[in-house]
């Protein structure tokens, strides 16, 4: 892999350069918390931040996205909407880089989802490093570092930035806007050191090999855990909506007041919400919160793994962080592991 060294002041030049051709989104502070917003200069960007509440997936799979535009009438007219700008997602953490890799797979699988794929095509991903908080557990699911699936990866090494080249496109952009030089072994080793430090900082971890988790989950269908956490769960869907790999959506129509022009759009949905699996006739296939929690946890550790390969939990801890009743994905998983080991299921 190609590593370059970018002097400290080069970053601002680089971002200015990007801003000429792209919308640039990156982490900024809002009410004291990191969120991804559009930026107009490098000054606004956070170079080291804890995980954002809402994931950067919103730039690839927006909360609300128009799919079709139509005109009603005798002969309705319909056209496909695929509005996508060239964009740079800056400051994407390894967990979210992995999450985007998984979303790429989902939306390309079977019938390709043109809306997502078109946005993705026009997106440049620039990763940055991070340090874990008490909810992060990426180390436990092999997503602590990202080897590829980004265009560039920038790491602050004090005197300047170590820039890992992920794609030709990323390299071309870097070379177009700033002068860099080949990074020295010493500079590269700073990233290795950083990873060592990061690795030692996790307080949350899953007590089993990631590859064993699908099996553990498949054996835990009848665990009492689901009913227990179902009792305290709000069914508010926050865990779904902050998850970087949740991609379920609802499709709705909106029509303007002239009752002629309208659009069909999709919005984020969540399997924890009461009506998610309810059919028009009224039957609800996952009526209890416990069933819905089981479904969500299994989607992360078993169901989607069977379907797409690879765990669908990237260890960002957002769901645990967002849960008001402290349903913690690491604790639940460890509990299931323990139940399996002790064979205890009262």
């Amino acid at each position: 892999m190609d590593y370059r060294f970018l002097p400290k002041k080069g970053l601002s030049l680089f971002v200015d350069g990007l801003l000429k051709d792209f919308k640039v989104y990156g982490p900024v502070k809002m009410d004291g918390f990191p969120v991804y917003e559009e930026v107009s200069s490098a000054k606004e960007l956070l170079l080291m931040h804890s995980p954002s509440h809402i994931t950067p997936k919103k730039y690839l799979f927006p909360q609300r996205e128009t799919l079709l535009r139509f005109k009603t009438g005798e002969k309705p007219q319909v056209e496909h909407a695929a509005d996508a700008d060239n964009q740079v997602l800056f400051g994407i953490h390894p967990c979210d880089i992995h999450a985007i890799r998984l979303l790429d797979r989902v939306f390309a699988y079977g019938t390709p989802d043109v809306n997502y794929l078109r946005r993705r095509e026009k997106t440049i991903i620039i990763g940055t490093e991070c340090l874990p908080d008490k909810f992060c557990f990426c180390r436990s699911v092999n997503t602590m570092t990202a080897a590829n699936d980004f265009d560039l990866f920038i790491h602050d090494i004090g005197a300047g930035f170590l820039v890992k080249i992920g794609t030709e496109k990323g390299k071309e952009l870097l070379f177009r806007h700033v002068k860099t030089r080949k990074a020295t072994i010493k500079e590269i080793s700073k990233l290795v050191e950083f990873h060592k430090k990061k690795e030692s900082m996790f307080t949350a971890s899953i007590n089993a090999e990631p590859s064993t988790l699908p099996l553990i989950y498949s054996g835990s269908y009848d665990s009492p855990v689901w009913e227990e956490i179902g009792k305290i769960c709000y069914g508010c869907g926050s865990c779904n909506l902050v998850c970087p790999t949740c991609y379920c959506f609802d499709v709705r129509d909106d029509i303007s007041l002239n009752m002629k022009d309208g659009e069909r759009y999709r919005v984020w949905d969540g399997c924890l919400l009461e009506d998610f699996a309810k059919v028009a006739g009224g039957h609800n296939f996952r009526k209890t919160r416990g069933e819905r929690l089981r479904h969500r946890f299994n989607r992360k550790f078993q169901f989607q793994v069977d379907k797409f390969g690879g765990l669908f939990c990237v260890g960002c801890g957002r769901c645990s962080r967002a849960c008001l009743v402290n349903i913690n994905i690491v604790e639940i998983t460890n509990k299931l592991i323990e139940e399996r080991e002790t064979g205890k299921k009262e």
Binding site: L67, L68, F70, T72, E74, K75, P76, V78, H80, A82, V106, F107, Y109, G110, T111, P112, D113, V114, N115, L117, R118, Y221, Y247, C248, F249, D250, V251, R252, D253, I255, M259, G262, R264, R266, D269, C271, F276, A277, K278, V279, A280, G281, G282, H283, F285, R286, E291, H295, N298, R299, Q302, F303, Q304, D306, K307
Partner: protein, 272 residues
Amino acid sequence: MESPYLLRQARIERITRLTEKERLFRLVFEDDKTLGHVPGQFIMLSIFGAGEAPISVSSPPDTRNEFEICVRVVGSLTNVLHTLLKGSTVGIRGPYGKGFPVKEIENKDILLIAGGIGLVPMRSLIKTILLKRGAYGRITLLYGVKSPEDILFKDELDEWSKVPDFDLRITVDKPHPLWKGHTGVVTRYLPELKIDAERTAAVIVGPPVMYKYVIMGLGEKRIAGHEIFLSLERRMKCGIGKCGHCQINSVYICQEGPVFRLSDIRRLREAI
């Protein structure tokens, strides 16, 4: 790359009122291509401004650019559909999913069990089978409805009952003053059916509550799990395996179903 959400437009050519709540719509595409479906598949039906919903196809495969759907008023979109007049245009995507194994069940006795509007996709299958009557053995249709007023396709049921070797039994849930036929749930009539389990394929379509009991009943008849086919209903928003609503464990109903072989989903928790 074309958007999977784009649709073909179809005109409502005929509307037939079947019951208080159900109407049959004959739809003709604006283009000259067929729908190209197999019995048991579904389409996504659009009314602009009202939305989109999965609807099963009720007619057999057709060489013309037309097909039929039978729709009960149950939700928002179906409500609006029932206010549309002949000549209105609707949007169609699909067909989607896997249908009934029409070819595989050839040369077998066919046991069909339908509950309520389960007869709608079943009709597509029955009509397909009857077009090639000689290729199939005895046909038994057990059809359960709430009350006599709910019986769909009355004329066609009459016709089918006259087909040689076609045993039709309709049962209504509760006794009704105007009903002289069978009463009670469909499972009640399973024991008395003469079935050669070795050469029978069973197909079940009905409301969620029906499956468990019918499957038990068929088990008692010694029909093997791989000879039982059923169509599962779930909420669907995309039809292309993305939106997540129809997911049961690792299975997307819109992709791998709605028709399943019982032996394939027996271990699929939440399926039945």
